[in-house]
Structures are given as structure tokens and as C-alpha cells.
């Protein structure tokens, strides 16, 4: 696909993200202004669905030959094909959206052969737009190049790292144990004693935070392709890498449900941090079928 075509897709996804963002602001005025109390889980589901419908309808009309994958319309078991595919998460950070915490975004990606080549993540509550086209760099609000700091800034180990981890929705069983034990060990003085742990409640924004360089590492098991596809493109274009959350795999897939994102840094530092986290990990994530 030519750069001109990718640029056109990038521009169109930005347009749709801004429209979706406006729909969030309209649906959830409590987060941006006062005076409404009609916030409920139902309202969120409605908003989620109507944004996804708006996005997918527009994409289908303009690009009838490409596949579509959306969170709301996902059918369990479906796998990405090698076809050019749009991936849409209408609202990432749904719990934040319900409660009004302004860490919420719409996340739109375009993947070819399962590789993200365009990524657009827009947080309307803070007016932050993260974008990237494969090979052309990543940007905040279209003009500020990512990362926001020196791309070769050393990353001297997890001990100096600000690490993003989420609590997730799976609150028992093996994956819950792996997640919580690893978190506690990463933060503990007897363990890694990382700088600190941040839980902001949106995987897409966590990926973008690592891309920007204000988070060093994001370790996650359990989220889905639509949560990470756009952020993946933005992160890798910002010099970051994505490994598997479980040890040993340097080539995770966008739909593999296990991700370890590390910010831009000298390659030997990135590799060392991945290996350090793998060594710290307590147990292994298990997602049958993935």
C-alpha cells in the first residue's frame, strides 16, 4: 500500500476519532461540565455502541474491501486475517468513562497482515491526540514528535522505571494471581522496587504513555487487539518495543492478549528491561486459544 493511501486512511481515522470523541463529550457531560446526572452503565453501553456504529459504517462505506473488527461487534473466537483490517475500540477506559475520570479514549487502527500500520488514539477529555503511520513517526496533537524526550535516553533497569499495570476485570484464578503477585513484587523493596506503579485504567493510553516516554513500561495480560493495535503502531514508531508479557517470546502478535511495552531507549536497555521483568514475573498468564 502506498504512503499516500496510508496517509489518507490516517487522516480519515483522525476525523472519525474526533467525531467519536465529541460523542463521548456529549454523552458524558459530567466529565467535562457539570449539570448532568444521567450517567449509568446503560448510557455507556449505548454510547459505546453508537460510536462503534458511526466508525464502522463510515469505514465500510469508504473502504468496502477492507475487513472491520470492533470491540462491540466482536464474535468470540474470530481471528484476524491477513487482509487489510480496521480495528476499532470506541471507548477504551470504560470504567473511567462511567465515573468521569478523564483517562478515556477512542482507539482506531489499521493493520495489514496483522501488523498495525496506522494508529490513532484520541482522549477528548484532555484533548490529546496520539497518531502514527508506520515508517513515518508518531506524534502528539499532530505536531509534537514522540517520544517527548531524547529517544536514546538510557533506561537503566526496572528499579528506575515508572511501570503501568492495570487490575483488570478477571479477579480470580491463575491470571489474577500472576498479575497481583507480580505487581506486588515489582513495587516491593524486597523485590524490584520500581519507581512506582501507575494504574490509569486504559490500555491504549498506557501504550501511548510509554510511546511518549512518561511511562517506561506497560505490562499487561488479558486485554484485546482493539485495546492495543493503535497504541502498538504509535509506540513502535516512537522507538518503543512490544514483547510478550510471558517470558521468552520477542514476537508477540497484536491479538495475543499478552503484551510488554517498553519505551524508546538504547536497544540493549530495552532488552535488559524485558528480561528483568520476565525474571520478576510470578507464574505465567494463560489465555486458552491465544
Amino acid at each position: 500500500m502506498t504512503l499516500a493511501e496510508l496517509t489518507q486512511i490516517h487522516d480519515f481515522l483522525i476525523e472519525l476519532a474526533l467525531r467519536g470523541g465529541q460523542m463521548m463529550l456529549d454523552a458524558n457531560p459530567s466529565a467535562s461540565t457539570s449539570g448532568s446526572k444521567k450517567n449509568s452503565v446503560d448510557l455507556v453501553t449505548d454510547t459505546d455502541k453508537s460510536i462503534e456504529k458511526m466508525v464502522l459504517t463510515n469505514l465500510k462505506y469508504k473502504y468496502p474491501n477492507y475487513d472491520l473488527l470492533g470491540e462491540e461487534s466482536y464474535i468470540p473466537g474470530r481471528k484476524l486475517s491477513d487482509n487489510p483490517t480496521f480495528i476499532c475500540d470506541p471507548i477504551d477506559g470504560t470504567i473511567n468513562f462511567v465515573h468521569g475520570v478523564p483517562n478515556v479514549c477512542i482507539s482506531l487502527a489499521f493493520v495489514i497482515k496483522k501488523i498495525p500500520v496506522v494508529g490513532v488514539v484520541y482522549n477528548p477529555f484532555q484533548n490529546r491526540l496520539f497518531t502514527a503511520i508506520k515508517g513515518k513517526g508518531a506524534f502528539l496533537n499532530r505536531t509534537e514528535r514522540l517520544p517527548l524526550r531524547d529517544s536514546m535516553e538510557p533506561l537503566p533497569g526496572l528499579n528506575k522505571a515508572l511501570v503501568a499495570i492495570e487490575w483488570g476485570s478477571e479477579r480470580k484464578g491463575n491470571n489474577w494471581d500472576v498479575r497481583t503477585k507480580t505487581m506486588v513484587k515489582l513495587a516491593s523493596q524486597g523485590g524490584t522496587m520500581c519507581h512506582s506503579v501507575r494504574c490509569q485504567g486504559s490500555a491504549a493510553l498506557d501504550m501511548c504513555g510509554v510511546a511518549a516516554g512518561y511511562l517506561d513500561v506497560f505490562w499487561e495480560g488479558g486485554c484485546w487487539a482493539w485495546d492495543v493495535a493503535a497504541g502498538w503502531c504509535i509506540l513502535t514508531e516512537a522507538g518503543g518495543i512490544v514483547a510478550d508479557a510471558n517470558p521468552g517470546n520477542w514476537k508477540p502478535t497484536v491479538e495475543g492478549r499478552r503484551y510488554l511495552a517498553v519505551r524508546s531507549a538504547p536497544a540493549e536497555d530495552q532488552i535488559a528491561v524485558v528480561e528483568e521483568l520476565w525474571d520478576t514475573m510470578e507464574g505465567r498468564f494463560e489465555f486458552p486459544g491465544f
Partner: protein, 295 residues
């Protein structure tokens, strides 16, 4: 206290917060693209000190008879007295400041008779300004909010669902060993775990790294509960006013303490809403042990 003009102090503190905020953005390592994270600990300390000096100079010039308590000039053993006291934190969320994570603030409060009466919390990275005066409400001004009264949303009743419908804020803190760390992480797990496993299955937990902004987040009604052990009075004094004026409540982080001191270092903040006492009791039931944090 009747002769203290709280409105005037409030306005003065806003001016200072904006000036201090300017110093924070100027020093913000990411905006200059220089200095690696590992080398900027010194820069942070310098900025912290420079802002506190600017604040204390201006405050002492204008209110020479008031006491002053700041993070950088605090000496162990200094005790908050009933005298009117400015309580300030030049940068709350220092770790975020170091990394450029946009959740850090300047926190300026006034306490009289050991009670916070004016609070100004300003995040210069998002330009959110939270303010409150005892008896006169609290407000948010930002690029998205035109001095809007807090809470931003009607405090829904807690009675339907209790803690399981709450979005909870906790922090990992800097003391990550021993009994307090164990109490904290075991409590985090208990809060989040499924009901089958004896947990409270809260909606989720957020950890963003600034105590003052966390209190304001509860004041806004965005989060329901914030549980903290280890903060200092300058982390909470300003946010305390903002929260209370928004209808929120603050009790002790350990079970049973309904009336914590502002310098008590252990806090459980809850947004306003019917049944808040029930949520406090339910939360206390999830505290795994007792935080051993003295004044």
C-alpha cells in the same frame, strides 16, 4: 478566625499557584528534551526548593504573623498548632514530575485551629485548578471547566451496590517494605478480588501518584473513595477543603476513626452521597491489619 479574610487569602494563593505552576512547567524535563530521568533528581529538588522559597517569601511578606509549614523546610518534630498556618507542597507527585507523567500539582492550604479552611490545588500540566473556601464551596477551573462547582456530578447513593460499585484510588507510596506495605497490598487485593474469593470486587483501582489531586478527583465525583497511609499534612491540607466543600468526608484509613486529624497521615476520603458511612464501614472491613504510621 473571624478577622481573617479567607477570600483574600484564597485569591492570593491562586496567584501563587499559577506562578509556581509556571516554574514547574519551565522545569519540566520533557519540555526541554534534555536531561535524562536518572540525572534529574537534583533538578527536581532544586525546583521544589525554588518554588517553596518563592511561596514562603511572598506569604511571609504578606502575612508575617502566620505560621508556615512547607515540605522542603519541614523539620522532624515540627508540629501543626492552632495558629493560622499556611501549609504548602511545592510539587506533589514528584515521581510523575521526574517522568513527565502529567499528574502533578502545587498544593497550597491554610489551616486555622487545626482545620483546613482554604485550599488551592493546581496541576499546571493539565491546567486544572481546584479551589475551596470553608463554607463557600469548591470549584474546578480548567480548559474544559469554567469555574464549575464541585462535585461535577450528583453524588449517587452508595446504598445500591456499596463498595462493589466504587472506583477506588490507592497509592503504592515510597515505603515498600514491612508491615505497612503488607497491609497496603493485601488490602488492595482484598478490595479487587472477586466476591467468591472473599473480596469486595470494586469496579477498579486507580493509582496516579498525587495525593492532593486524588482528593480533588474524589471531590469532583470522578472517583468514589481514596485510601491512603503515609501522606503528610502538606499533601492533604488543600485537598481536604476542596473535598469537604464538595460534600465529601474524610475518616481514618484504619478502622474506627471517624475524626482524623489533618496531620494524622492516614486517611480514607469518600465522595458525598447517601450511605457513605456504610461504604466506610465496608471499606474498613477490607483493611487487612492496621497501618502503623504515627504523626
Amino acid at each position: 478566625m473571624s478577622d481573617i479574610n479567607l477570600q483574600e487569602i484564597h485569591d492570593f494563593l491562586i496567584t501563587l499557584a499559577r506562578a509556581g505552576g509556571e516554574m514547574i512547567t519551565q522545569a519540566q524535563p520533557t519540555t526541554s528534551r534534555t536531561g535524562s530521568k536518572t540525572n534529574i533528581a537534583d533538578l527536581v529538588t532544586e525546583t521544589d526548593k525554588a518554588i517553596e522559597k518563592m511561596l514562603s517569601d511572598k506569604i511571609r511578606e504578606k502575612y508575617p504573623t502566620f505560621e508556615f509549614m512547607g515540605e522542603e523546610t519541614y523539620k522532624p518534630g515540627d508540629i501543626l498548632t492552632p495558629s493560622p498556618t499556611f501549609i504548602i507542597d511545592p510539587i506533589d507527585g514528584t515521581t510523575n514530575f521526574i517522568h513527565g507523567f502529567p499528574y502533578a500539582c502545587i498544593s497550597l492550604g491554610l489551616a486555622v485551629d487545626l482545620e483546613p479552611v482554604v485550599g488551592v490545588v493546581y496541576n499546571p500540566l493539565t491546567q486544572q485548578l481546584f479551589t475551596g473556601i470553608k463554607g463557600h464551596g469548591s470549584y474546578l477551573t480548567s480548559p474544559f471547566h469554567d469555574r464549575e462547582k464541585l462535585p461535577l456530578r450528583e453524588g449517587e447513593s452508595f446504598e445500591d451496590g456499596g463498595l462493589s460499585r466504587c472506583l477506588v484510588i490507592t497509592e503504592w507510596g515510597t515505603d515498600r517494605s514491612g508491615v505497612n506495605y503488607d497491609v497496603k497490598v493485601n488490602t488492595f487485593r482484598k478490595l479487587c478480588a472477586s466476591k467468591e474469593d472473599g473480596g469486595a470486587m470494586v469496579r477498579s483501582i486507580r493509582s496516579l501518584g498525587s495525593g492532593a489531586l486524588n482528593l480533588c478527583t474524589v471531590a469532583a465525583g470522578w472517583a468514589d473513595v481514596y485510601w491512603e497511609g503515609g501522606n503528610r499534612v502538606w499533601d492533604v491540607c488543600a485537598g481536604w477543603v476542596v473535598l469537604k466543600e464538595a460534600g465529601g468526608e474524610i475518616v481514618d484509613a484504619n478502622p474506627g476513626g471517624w475524626k482524623p486529624r489533618v496531620d494524622g497521615r492516614k486517611y480514607l476520603a469518600v465522595r458525598g452521597g447517601e450511605g457513605w458511612q456504610m461504604v466506610v464501614k465496608e471499606f474498613w472491613g477490607c483493611v487487612e491489619g492496621e497501618l502503623q504510621i504515627g504523626m
